[in-house]
C-alpha cells in the first residue's frame, strides 16, 4: 500500500543513496569527536546535530548549518560509528537537497585563469571530488578547451593547484606566492635549517600545535590546507635557497581530510627524493611523514629526527 503522507525532509534524505541509515543514529557523539572540523574550523560544526535536524524535519536549519557544507567526506567517522551509518553520505544527501533548494556553498574554492589554462586535464585527474571538468569554449573565433571548476563540489584542498603544470589554478587565500614567500630563514652556523610544511589536519591536539611554536628560527613551519597542496617545486626552491631539508607532514594512510592528498604528496616527494643524487645532493633531504590520530607528541620526534639527519650536511 502506497503511503499518502507527503514526503518529509527526512524521507527525502532517506531516498538519496547513503541517507537510508539516518534513523539508526542514537546520538553518541563518536562522529563529532572523531572529526576535527569542530576544533579547527567552526565550533558550530556537529554531524550528530545535523542528523537530528533531519530527523526532526528542520529543513532550513539543516541547509544553513555549517555541517552541511564543511564536511569533506574524509570518512574518518564512518568506521568509528557504532551504528555503521555512513555519515558523510547522509551529509552529502542533505547538501544535495540544499543545492537543489538554491543554497550555495560558503567555502572558498579554486579558480581557473583561462588565459593560462591549456586544457590538459591534469586537474580533472587529481581532484578527489570531481570538481574540475573540461569545457569547450570559443575564444576569439577559436574553439579551445578549458578547465572549469564546479564550485559546489570543490572543498579547497588545493591538490589541483599543486598539480597544474602551468599554474593556471589558484585558491586566492592560499596562493603559491604566499607559501613560497614564507620559505625564508637564516640558520645559525653549525645548525641545520629546515622547512616544515604541515597540513592543517594532521595535528589533532593543541599540545602538538604548541610544540611547533617552540622551535628556534632555523626551523620554519608553514601551514598548508593539505599535504597534497605541496608542489615538489616548492621543496626544490627551498633547497636552492640554501635550506638543508624539507619535511612535509601529512595525515596517516586512510585519514587524509581530503581523501587522498597525503598519498599524492607522499608519492611526489618520494620520487623527488629518489632524484636527489642527480642533483648532487644526498638522499633524505626531502621527507614525508604520516601523523596518525593517535600519534600524540610524535611531531617533535619527527622534526628532531630530521634535524639530526641533516646535521652532517652543515658539519
Amino acid at each position: 500500500m502506497e503511503s499518502e503522507r507527503p514526503l518529509s525532509f527526512a524521507d527525502q534524505v532517506r531516498a538519496i543513496p547513503g541517507g537510508e541509515n539516518l534513523d539508526m543514529c542514537y546520538s553518541c557523539g563518536t562522529c563529532v569527536s572523531k572529526c576535527l572540523i569542530q576544533q579547527k574550523l567552526d565550533p558550530e560544526y556537529n554531524p550528530r546535530r545535523l542528523l537530528r535536524m533531519v530527523m526532526m524535519d528542520m529543513r532550513e536549519e539543516a541547509f544553513k548549518s555549517p555541517t552541511t557544507w564543511l564536511c569533506s567526506a574524509c570518512d574518518l567517522c564512518y568506521p568509528a560509528c557504532p551504528q555503521k551509518i555512513h555519515i558523510s553520505a547522509v551529509i552529502g544527501a542533505v547538501k544535495q537537497l540544499a543545492e537543489e533548494a538554491g543554497y550555495i556553498s560558503p567555502l572558498e574554492t579554486v579558480v581557473v585563469d583561462e588565459s593560462l589554462c591549456a586544457g590538459c586535464g591534469i586537474c580533472v585527474m587529481t581532484c578527489p571530488y570531481d570538481a574540475p571538468h573540461l569545457i569547450e569554449k570559443e575564444v576569439n573565433g577559436v574553439v579551445d578547451r578549458f578547465s572549469e571548476v564546479d564550485a559546489e563540489k570543490c572543498m579547497g584542498c588545493g591538490m589541483c593547484v599543486a598539480a597544474c603544470p602551468l599554474g593556471a589554478i589558484a585558491r586566492p587565500s592560499v596562493a603559491n606566492a604566499d607559501i613560497v614567500s614564507q620559505i625564508n630563514l637564516r640558520a645559525k652556523k653549525g645548525s641545520p635549517s629546515l622547512v616544515v610544511f604541515i597540513c592543517d589536519w594532521c595535528l589533532r591536539v593543541e599540545d602538538d600545535v604548541k610544540i611547533l611554536e617552540s622551535y628556534p628560527e632555523n626551523v620554519r613551519v608553514i601551514h598548508i590546507p593539505c599535504s597534497g597542496r605541496i608542489d615538489p617545486q616548492m621543496a626544490l626552491m627551498a633547497l636552492r635557497s640554501g635550506i638543508d631539508g624539507v619535511l612535509v607532514c601529512g595525515c596517516a594512510a586512510g585519514e587524509c581530510h581530503f581523501k587522498r592528498g597525503n598519498y599524492v604528496s607522499e608519492c611526489k616527494l618520494g620520487l623527488l627524493d629518489g632524484m636527489m643524487d642527480q642533483m648532487n645532493l644526498n638522499e633524505g633531504r626531502v621527507r614525508f611523514v604520516r601523523l596518525g590520530t593517535q600519534d600524540r607528541g610524535r611531531i617533535r620526534h619527527e622534526i628532531d629526527g630530521m634535524l639530526a639527519h641533516l646535521q652532517p650536511e652543515v658539519a
Partner: protein, 630 residues
Amino acid sequence: MVDAARHPKIDVRTYTDVERVEGYVGNFKVQLREKARYVRADRCNGCGECARVCPIEVPNPFEMNLAPRKAAYVAMSQSVPLLYTIDQEACIHCYKCVEACGALEAIDFSQEDKVEWEDVGSIVVATGFSHFDPSVMPEYGYGRFPNVITAMEMERLNNSAGPTTGDLMRPSDGVNPKRVAIINCVGSRDKRFNPWCSNFCCMYAIKNAVLLKQMYPDIELTIYYMDIRTPSKGYEEFYDRAREMGIRFIQGRPSLITEDEETRNLFVHSEDVALGKVVEHEYDMVMLNQAAVPQPDVDMVSSVLNITQSPGGWFMEYHPKLRPVDSPTDGIFLAGACQGQKDIPASVSSGLASASRAGRILHSDEWEIEPIIAQVWEDRCISAQGKQCGICAKACPYGAITVETGKAAEVVTAKCHGCGGCVAECPHNAITQMHYTDAQMLAQIRALLADKPEEKIFAFRCHWCSYGGADLAGTSHFDYSANERGMRVMCSARMDSDFIYEAFRLGAGAVLYSGCHPQDCHYITGQRVGATRADRLMKTFEKMGMSPGRFRIEWISAAEGDKYARVINEMQKVITDLGKEKLHQEIESMKPEMEKRARRMYDVPQVNEASDYSDLLTMAMTVTEVPDGK
C-alpha cells in the same frame, strides 16, 4: 559451593569436559572426560607445598595475567574441591613437588585422562559468558597504552585478595591514579562487533566508581556513557547515589584515546553531548567496560548438547517469555548468562528456575509429551527392504530418528517434538504424523479449494509464526484479500511438496509457503528443512513456466501481521493482473504435470478416503445448504 561439595547427593566434577550426550529426557547418557591433573584427588589435601617449591612461574589467567602462578596451581584459592593441578605445558619435570608432597604421595605424573559414561535424568547448562577483547578497537589503545585496562583487570586491581592486595595502581608506574575514566559500551551496542546491550555494565561501571570513591575519596571519576540503563529495583537509586558522591557522568561515546608518552597519562576525546562540544580530558587511568559475549566454545557445547543458539551465539531458550530456562531439547535447561547477558539477580533466578524444572523430571516416573509425534509405517520404509536411505534422519532437528539399513527407521518418541519434517521429506510417504496425517491435510486442502479454486490464495502457515501473523493481521483489522484460505501445520518443515502440487492441481490461483524466520524456528532447524524444499519447488515451478508470484515463499513472524496482510494483497494483485482467462489456461495446462508429481501421495493409507472427509468439511463450511435440514 562448599555446601554443594559436601552434599551427599551432589557429585562435583571439576576439570572435566562433557564430550558426548546421548539418550533423551530422563534417560541421558553423558560421556565425561576428566582431564589428568597429575595430582591424585583422593590424596591431595590442598596444602600447597607443591606450589611453594615449584620453580616455574606463568601468567595467572584468574588474575587477568596481572600476577604469576606456579606450574603446580589451583585456579583460585576458594576452589572447590581444593585440588592442585600440574600444568604440563609449563612444567619442567624437576619433581621438586613430588619431594615436597612427601608421604602424601599425591603427585602422579603417570595419570591419564579418565573417560567414563554417566546416566543422568536432566541437564542444566550453566557455562556463563566471556568478555569482549577490546584490543581489536585500535582507537582505545588497549594493549598499547599500559594504563588502559579492562573492567575485569580493574576488578582484580581493587580486590583485597588480588595481586596488589586491593591497592589500585597504574600498570605503567605503580602510582595510585588520581583521575580515572570509565568508558561504557566497549564492543557492545556497536554494530561493528556486538549489537546487543550487555545489560549489566552500566551498573557495573557505577559500582566500580562508587567503590573507588569510597576507597580514595579524592579520586576524580568520570563515566562516559551513551545511555545509562538502570531498569531493576534499586538501580536508579544507586545511580543517584553515585551522582551525589560527585562522580562525573559525560554523555558521549569516546572516539579516541591518546597517550602522553612521557607521563603515560591518557587523553580521552569525546563529544560532551549536553554541550554539543568536543572535549578532551586528561586521566591517569582508563577502564574499558567490555561487552559480555558468549563463551568461545559455545559452538562445541551446542553441538554436543544439540541445543540451538540465538543470533550472536547465546543459547536459545524454548520460548523467550513462557519457557525462558528450557532449551529446545527436552530435559536440558539453561541457567545464567549462557542464555543471554544477565546480571547476578537474574542469573540466580534463572539458576533456581532451571533447577526446579530439572527436578520435575527427576521426580517423575513418566513424562508426558505432545501427542503429535511421527510414526513409521514399517512396510513402506525402504530401509526395511535393505535399501540405503536415511533422509528422514537428516531432516530431524532432534536426532530422534535412527536408521539402520535392513531395518525400518525408528522414531524415539520421547525425543520427537512433532515438527513433521521427516514426514514431508520421506520420498516414499512411509512416515506419518499423528493428528497431521497426509489424509487429514489433503482433506483440508480439498475442502478449502472446493469452490472457485482459481480465485483462491492458498496459504500454508506454520503454527508458531505465520499462523500467529495471520491472526494478528485479523485482530489488528489489517485489510487483506478475502480470497485467502489458510491451513495450519506445526512447522514449515511439514509442508510437503505433494500438498503444494495438490493445491495447484486442484486449481489454486496462488499458493503461499510461509513459516518462521530462520532464527525463530520453534523446531531448531525445521524452517531450514522447509526452506530448502520451498526453494526447490520454486525452481521447479519456474521451469514449468508458472507465472511469477503464483507460488510465493515468505517468512513471517507472529508479530508481523502487517507483513502477512501485505503479502496476501500482493498475491491477490498477481492473480488479478494475470486475468481470469490466462490463469485458467495456465492451471489447466499444468494439471497433468501436478498430478504426476503428486501421484505418490495417492496411495498413502486413508488418502483416498480423504475426499469423503473433504465433502463433510465442505458441507460444514457452506452452512446455507444442510441436507435434510439437520
